[in-house]
């Protein structure tokens, strides 16, 4: 008898996600950039990350796929935006409508790589940093939420969001 009853499946937004993850440490370019930031004593990412993380320019189409797939980018779990194809968007982060007009590329890149640089109390996960993390699950240790190229793709896509209507 047990376990029969309701057959309804509910969304398991975080637990169910299974995605390709890059087994990366910090990309060499990023490492160099961070080293420069550290050496120059630049204040908490105030100027963002001006240098792209990879040699291959970001692909906005791939970035759109990552952002609008809740299982992959996780972005829409917290952010609304001009994503009519996403059935449910969260309310924890700011609406991404027009974010490409409000933020520079360097800002967007820094925000995604590690938003703690701009705000130590942020609830936004660091997408391309393993620095200072605690109790990371065994299967995710040494990995980041996005590869360097995925960050560049997402930055390129967000930069296209310049319209003021969702």
């Amino acid at each position: 008898m047990r376990g029969r009853g309701m057959r309804r499946r509910c969304a398991k937004p975080l637990a169910a996600e299974k995605r390709r993850r890059g087994k990366v440490g910090l990309n060499p370019t990023l490492r160099a950039t961070l080293a420069v930031l550290a050496l120059s004593g630049t204040a908490a990412g105030a100027d963002g990350l001006a240098t792209p993380l990879t040699a291959t320019p970001g692909d906005p189409a791939r970035g759109a796929q990552i952002v609008t797939d809740p299982q992959h980018g996780l972005c829409t779990l917290c952010h609304a935006g001009p994503f009519p194809q996403v059935a449910f968007t969260g309310t924890l982060g700011p609406d991404l409508t027009g974010v490409g007009a409000r933020r520079t590329l360097a800002d967007l890149r820094q925000q995604i790589v590690d938003s703690r640089r701009a705000n130590p109390d942020t609830i936004m996960p660091p997408y391309h940093s393993t620095e200072g993390l605690n109790r990371v699950g065994e299967r995710w240790q040494g990995t980041t939420l996005m590869t360097a190229q995925e960050v560049e793709d997402v930055v390129a896509y967000l930069a296209t969001l310049t319209g003021d209507t969702p």
Binding site: A11, R135, V136, E138
Partner: protein, 250 residues
């Protein structure tokens, strides 16, 4: 009379803002609330099993729970509202799930028990049911204080690849939505619960494991000191809220 006095004491002791606390039940749809209010909801199967197991001899000693504790309606009233409690033999805090497993081992001679064993879950549901409607009343034993403090530290510590603490969601952002899911305040008033997502009855421990996996953190080992510590803190944070049965959650 005594219960009314205890209740009054607790209401007086409630922290400021306590009246703003909301349980998962408060935030459910009317349809799900109606399901929980139906005494023959899906969780009832475990309650019925637990009631039968209470009087069933078990283990090498052939003793039943009732042989020592008599009628659960009397002896178990308020127990679930008070646990976790101190275990003298282990000199450590134990939750109700662990206490039932220990009892089966120590007093019935049934050997070490799996905390998630269906019979243990059924007994947990039955014992918890004897506290329905009673306010959560943290055990005042000072030996529990260090673990409770450890629980608060865990609650406010960022964890996992997503680098989130319990508090960042369940204190700072409760009422918000993670995609379609409402973020609850995280009060442990309704465990064990029949969760539609699970299609079965499960414990607070399982629910917390889901949260930790969600932020890609290493879950607490079953019955570990850290899990019990967190359970102690959650219970004190929810003090005064009523024990629900038979709990249903989406």
């Amino acid at each position: 009379m005594i219960r009314a006095a205890v209740l009054a004491g607790i209401v007086l002791a409630l922290p400021a803002g306590a009246q703003d606390r909301r349980t998962g039940y408060d935030d459910m749809s009317p349809a799900l609330q109606a399901m929980q209010d139906d005494p023959m909801n899906p969780a009832a199967f475990w309650l019925i099993d637990g009631e039968a197991l209470w009087s069933e001899p078990a283990g090498t000693r052939g003793q039943s729970c009732a042989d020592c504790h008599d009628a659960a309606e009397d002896s178990m009233a308020g127990v679930a509202a008070r646990y976790p409690a101190w275990d003298e033999e282990q000199a450590a805090p134990v939750d109700l799930n662990g206490r039932i497993a220990l009892c089966r081992d120590r007093h019935q001679g049934a050997g070490p028990q799996d905390r998630a064993d269906p019979d243990i879950l059924a007994l947990l549901a039955y014992v918890t049911h004897q506290s329905r409607g009673m306010p959560l009343t943290p055990d005042p034993d000072p030996r529990l204080d260090p673990a409770r403090a450890r629980g608060e530290t865990l609650f406010t510590t960022r964890m996992g690849q997503l680098n989130l603490s319990c508090a960042q969601c369940h204190d700072d952002n409760s009422g918000g939505h993670l995609a379609a899911a409402l973020i609850p305040q995280g009060h442990p008033t309704g465990y064990p619960q029949y969760r539609l997502e699970w299609e079965t009855l499960g414990t607070l421990e399982r629910r917390i494991r889901g949260c930790l996996t969600g932020v890609r953190a290493e879950p607490f080992a079953p019955g570990s000191a850290d899990f019990i510590a967190l359970a102690l803190y959650l219970q004190s944070r929810a003090a005064g809220l009523q024990v629900e049965t038979l709990p249903i959650r989406p």
